[in-house]
């Protein structure tokens, strides 16, 4: 399910949303619906998960088929995963992570049911995940990591609570992710990876500070991770491409204003026009799209 979401979003960013058959895709998504659990799994016969449920909702939204979702049951599923602490588990296994909190907030927002969420409790938990360096971790007490900075900042944006971000400290921390080779890493002294082109750039866009990184250097880095024989983008130059890094590389390029790409909403990681039509656009700012 996640692979389908990455593929569709990547194609839409490139303006080729019709490449994959719409009906087949919707059929696949619906074949992952678990009537008993009231949610979607990653593949037919797999256990349901809140992440695959979000991907399903995003795909159906992008395919203009959101009416296929049993909204009340999905809302019930998400709410059932919120823990007393305010964090969210991903599934019955019980692993909690701020990624899952973002999945819940994003999904409920797309379904127009954010009012069913205990927003106070959710925001209070995100606040507990905020660290001394301005960043956010996976759980309260965990180290700041760019991926969790994205999910927490994006969730706060959806909940209109960006006031909980220690903005100056966080912009600084995010801009420090850029390495001399132009790529971005996820925390200090770690290696660059193309996917951070999205996690970091989206967070900076939401905070209106995307100018704090060298966009031309980052672009050059992402483009150098392309595989010119098979196509696609890898995690770093010379490695095998995969759909995940292709998607997030393209997402980064879109935010950086790369020519001929479609605008992406960094909060929802979906085409900006779709989010605008749903009336969900927040005050983020990407770089101006260049004409050449």
């Amino acid at each position: 399910m996640n692979a389908v979401y990455w593929s569709l979003t990547a194609l839409l960013i490139m303006g080729h949303g019709d490449t994959l058959d719409r009906d087949e895709m919707i059929d696949f998504v619906m074949s992952c619906w678990d009537e008993e659990a009231g949610a979607f799994s990653a593949h037919p016969d797999h256990d349901v998960h809140l992440r695959s449920t979000l991907s399903a909702i995003q795909i159906l939204s992008m395919q203009n088929a959101l009416n296929r979702v049993d909204v009340d049951r999905v809302v019930k599923f998400y709410l059932s995963l919120q823990q007393p602490s305010g964090s969210f588990a991903g599934d019955a296994f019980g692993e909690t992570d701020t990624r899952f909190l973002y999945c819940a907030v994003n999904a409920l927002s797309l379904l127009g049911k954010l009012d069913k969420l205990d927003i106070q409790k959710t925001v209070a938990y995100i606040k507990r995940c905020r660290n001394f360096d301005g960043g956010f971790g996976a759980v309260a007490g965990a180290e700041s990591h760019a991926s969790r900075v994205f999910v927490c900042v994006a969730a706060l944006a959806i909940l209109d609570r960006l006031d909980e971000v220690d903005q100056p400290t966080l912009y600084w921390w995010l801009s420090e992710r850029q390495l001399p080779n132009g790529g971005l890493n996820g925390r200090p002294e770690k290696l660059e990876d193309v996917c951070y082109s999205f996690w970091v750039s989206s967070a900076l866009s939401i905070l209106n500070k995307l100018t704090w990184i060298d966009s031309s250097k980052l672009e050059a880095f992402i483009l150098s991770a392309q595989n010119t024989e098979s196509g696609g983008i890898a995690d770093r130059p010379g490695n095998m491409p995969d759909i995940f890094h292709t998607m997030f590389g393209l997402a980064g390029l879109s935010l950086l204003g790369y020519p001929a790409l479609v605008d992406l909403d960094p909060v929802y990681c979906m085409p900006a026009s779709i989010i605008e039509n749903l009336g969900l656009r927040k005050g983020w700012k990407a770089l101006q799209r260049r004409t050449s």
Binding site: A3, V4, S7, L20, E24, M25, D27, F28, S31, H43, P44, D45, H46, D47, H49, D91, A92, F93, G94, E95, D97, N131, F132, D133, G137, A138, V139, G141, A142, E143, S144, H145, P168, T169, Y171, W172, W173, S175, E176, Q178, P180, R187, P188, E189, K190, K209, T211, W212, I213, D214, K217, I243
Partner: protein
Amino acid sequence: MDLPAEEEQPLYSQRPEWADVVPLEQYESVAPLAPIFYTDEYRDATNYFRGIVKSGEMSPRVLELTENIIRQNPGHYSAWQYRYKTLMALKSPLDDELQLMDELAIKHLKTYQVWHHRRLLVQQTRNPGPELEFIANSLQVDTKNYHTWSYRQWILAYFNDDALWSHELDFMESMLESDVRNNSAWHHRFFVVFQSGVRSGDEDRDAVVRRELAFVKERIAIAPNNASAWNYLRGVLDHTKISYCELQAFVLPYSLPQPPLGTPPEVVDLESPLPSKNSQLPCVAAVEFMADIHEAAGGGDLVKATEVGYVLYELGKYLTYRSFGNPWQMSTILYARDTGNTGSRNP
């Protein structure tokens, strides 16, 4: 229970002792959009897994089956969950399970499920002591593993036993001794010292702050170009509401291109340890810190500000891709560049 090497294992479909189980194929639509290339062994094992889940069987052979699946795919969270339920139903000895997990955790360090399963087990055994040792060992393999550090924090906070907390400072010192740039270790230190309550012996918070400031300054002196240490310093100051200006004497030497002359090397100022001999100066983080100090002091000191701006300009690596958040800093840099006014510094 030791499994024989994988290549010697017959498929479950070929084992007579599994003949009573009805394997269930995974549903596959006619043209799967994102097909997963399963091996025969994986397909076979998961077919039998679906079979025993359907019948609700919880037996020793289910433990063998789930172990097989987990070894092939440590991310199969359903197999983990069912394994845990089976262990509980069978009242299996959890210390044996933890020992098995020791091996799997090292093999599959970056898998969430391995650590979450451990959490569930330790909540049952209520024996956290050996876990800290296990964590220390696994950190030798991967010093910055996010899950491992997070698990350590969970153990400490969940059991909240003074005896467990008491070794943490030593543990972190040793981690930083091996790699002073280990951001996870610095984060953990902040967690232990400032974000997990006050334990006996640390009630004098002023003494704790003095200790931490001395610790981080010493580490900065050893290796100044270390973002984690500077973040830690700023974190301590922000948390205790100490003004950045109070650190000026310490930070200044790090923001200059060469070490100060005329200082006898035997005299070590503990309040303001100097950069170690082979440090690369100026240290960018120190220059940024000085800029923040000048801003905090009122920002009207234009000569000082342009001097800072010029040093930043020279540090080409940074200035080519920074536009600095506050207009004050940006304007001083532009002023320095445009007018060539570098205050007292020679170009």
